[in-house]
Amino acid sequence: MLEIKNLYAKAGEKEILKGINLQVNAGEVHAIMGPNGSGKSTLAHVLAGRDGFVSTAGSVLFEKKDLLAMTPETRAREGVFLALQYPVEIPGITNTYFLRAAVNAIRKYRGLEEMDPMEFLPWVREKAKLVSMDQAMMSRSVNDGFSGGEKKRNEILQMVVLEPKLAILDETDSGLDIDALQIVAKGINALRNKERAMLVITHYQRLLNYIEPDVVHVLFDGRIVKSGGKELALELEKKGYGWIEEEVKSARPVSVA
């Protein structure tokens, strides 16, 4: 589904990604871990097409299409979803209205009929239950005055409603207490199926107790330096990122990057 080949990218003027190779197939959940500044969020933003994050070499194919050539909205309509680490507030637009606008923009792109409010409301209410979001929160402006946990739950609600093919979760667990973490994990797990792929970006192993990954990658200095099964996450939890750094440093003279 997602094929990243030798991807180099800049955030602003600074080169952050230095040759990422990654293949994610439908139905798989990949965790991307790594210390701060290793390029995790940059990777997420390059994939979503955010301004200021520019790829300088390499390619990204999404369902065999050139993802990097698409505008952010086209990527979304094609089925790429990014749950932001810092969800944005939009005063004056209710959560429900925003969700319907997004759903209809995507439906229109796919040649489906747009949903009217009468149809949309009961449908979205059902989805909201999954992340324990009540009607009052649905009628409030998008993320406006939401707590950190509420914002993250709102991201997951959007994901559940938009039913993406590829979901990228950028540090969705950061700043969550244990209850909120469980709600968020429940929403994510509900969406796991054979057709859908997920890229779970996280600093800690904690989230992976709830969302079991198929593959764990360690990102360091803009490259994936180690990949393995879920046990790799546990090892990182125990030993920290220091030993990876050592490994990479001792190996570096050999590599011709």
Binding site: D51, G52, E73, R75, A76, I90, G92, A102, S141
Partner: protein, 482 residues
């Protein structure tokens, strides 16, 4: 991929869509202002002596006045002697008697603006008075209104046909010496609209005036007077536009509204005068005095304005709440894009008991635009149990614009309840990215955010105009982001 700065700068690339010039022969006065010009205007309109006297008194007062400087708008000094104070399209006599006599070019001009004046295409249920430069060129649906006893005509016609009413009410809300621009208007006003709704009559249709400045170097000084007798109601809407010219043009209008006991006037404005180009060259200086007087008990005056045009907007539609239990409302959306400057707001003067007022002001600043809200809520000692609620919200698009709020409260009665809320928010690149990441295009995202911001005000416009206002706003901000 676009950089952040670029995307925001693009917001200011919209073009003014009403900027064409019509080739219409005009009968214009020489430049400058003196008593002779005023006598000329008065004689062109064949006015009675009392009208000329009033104008001359205003002029004598005006020359003693100084242009105000307290506002938060900046412009080079206006040379009042270099303005043409009277320009009438076509015929050198008074306005045309029927549509057949109207110059086809004029009809075309209004048709281009979406204001059809020929009978077949008239807007259903809306009577229109069309004012080009200084002259009212056509008023539609006169007969239908006549049957209901409603008088809706040009101001000049009212001076001829209803002199008693004009004499009784003219200047009774905005006296000629009220302020510099109102005083200038009193001396040189050339036309405008006049409405009179008799006792107990609910006006059967929306009344509407469309103002158009066409001729070069002219000022437009119109005057509107609306009188709602006891227990009558009327909804009135004005729209305006002007050609694109690289010189600034002055527009100084006066509007007076009077409601007697139990009467209600709803006055809506969609102001789209030429705002100047992207560099701030040209555009209309819009210095307007609008005031309503709730003279009778239980009466109501409601102002709704959508101000998208003009290089400078300077207006404070106000209500004097004289009658007990009277209600004043002000709903405003003001846009300042590119180099536009808007200094607008309202005054709610509570004099009667149990009077109520509501102020909802929404300012949108984009490009290098500067948007100022200026308001006064004054509660007199005898205004027991008066209430006011004010809400002033500002929306910023980009980093180069500004929003300013100057609310003023003067309360002299301890039973008063006055509330003021204010907020400032910004359409940022992060919000737009967020919307786009959810599949919503940049344009739809901006429209959605701006319309969400203005919803409270648009809801107050007559339905068909609410749609117009949304479109206009979309157009004025088109391409402003991403």
């Amino acid at each position: 991929m676009k950089t952040e700065g670029n995307a925001i700068r693009d917001l200011t690339t919209s073009e003014y869509k009403y900027g064409f010039v019509s080739e219409i022969e005009a009968d214009a006065a020489p430049r400058g202002l003196n008593e002779d010009i005023i006598r000329l205007i008065s004689s062109k309109k064949n006015e009675p002596g009392w009208m000329l006297e009033w104008r001359l008194k205003a002029y004598q007062h005006w020359i003693t006045m100084k242009e105000p400087t307290w506002h938060n708008v900046h412009y080079p000094p206006i040379d009042y002697q270099n303005i043409i104070y009277y320009s009438a399209p076509g015929a050198k006599k008074a306005g045309p008697k029927s549509l057949d006599e109207v110059d086809p070019e004029i009809l075309k001009t209004f048709a281009k603006l979406g204001i059809p004046l020929d009978e077949q295409k008239q807007l259903a249920g809306v009577a229109v008075d069309a004012v080009l430069d200084s002259i009212s060129v056509a008023t539609t649906f006169k007969e239908t209104l006549g049957k209901a006893g409603v008088v809706f005509c040009s101001f000049s016609e009212a001076v001829q046909k209803h002199p008693d009413l004009v004499q009784k009410y003219l200047g009774s809300v905005v006296p000629y010496g009220d302020n510099f621009f109102a005083c200038l208007n009193a001396a040189v006003f050339s036309d405008g609209s006049f409405c009179y709704i008799p006792k107990g009559v609910r006006c059967p249709m929306e009344l509407s005036t469309y103002f158009r400045i066409n001729a070069v170097d002219t000022g437009q000084f119109e005057r509107t007077l609306i009188i709602a007798e006891e227990n009558s109601t009327v909804s009135y809407l004005e729209g305006c536009s002007a050609p694109m010219r690289d010189k600034n043009q002055l527009h100084a209008a006066v509007v007076e509204l009077i409601t007697l006991e139990g009467a209600e006037i709803k006055y809506s404005t969609i102001q789209n005068w030429y705002p100047g180009d992207k560099e701030g060259k040209g555009g209309i200086y819009n210095f307007v005095t609008k005031r309503g007087h709730c003279r009778g008990a239980n009466s109501k005056i409601s102002w709704t304005q959508v101000e998208t045009g003009s290089a400078i907007t300077w207006k404070y539609p106000s209500v004097i709440l004289e009658g007990d239990n009277s209600i004043g409302e002000f709903y405003s959306v003001a846009v300042a894009n590119n180099y536009q400057q808007a200094d607008t707001g309202t005054k709610m003067i509570h004099r009667g008991k149990n009077t109520r007022s509501t102020i909802i002001s929404k300012g949108i600043s984009a490009g290098h635009g500067q948007n100022t809200y200026r308001g006064l809520v004054k509660i007199f000692k005898r205004a027991t149990d008066a209430r006011n609620y004010s809400q002033c919200d500002s929306l910023l698009v980009g980093d180069l614009c500004g929003a300013h709020t100057f609310p003023r409260l003067e309360v002299s009665n301890t039973t008063a309840r006055v509330e003021h809320e204010a907020s400032t928010s910004k359409i940022g690149e992060d919000q737009l990215f967020y919307c786009r990441q959810r599949g919503i295009s940049t344009e739809d995202a901006v429209n959605m955010i701006v319309n969400g911001f203005c919803k409270q005000v648009f809801n107050k416009l007559p339905m068909e105009f609410a749609v117009e206002a949304q479109k206009l706003l979309g157009m004025n901000l088109e391409g402003s982001v991403g």
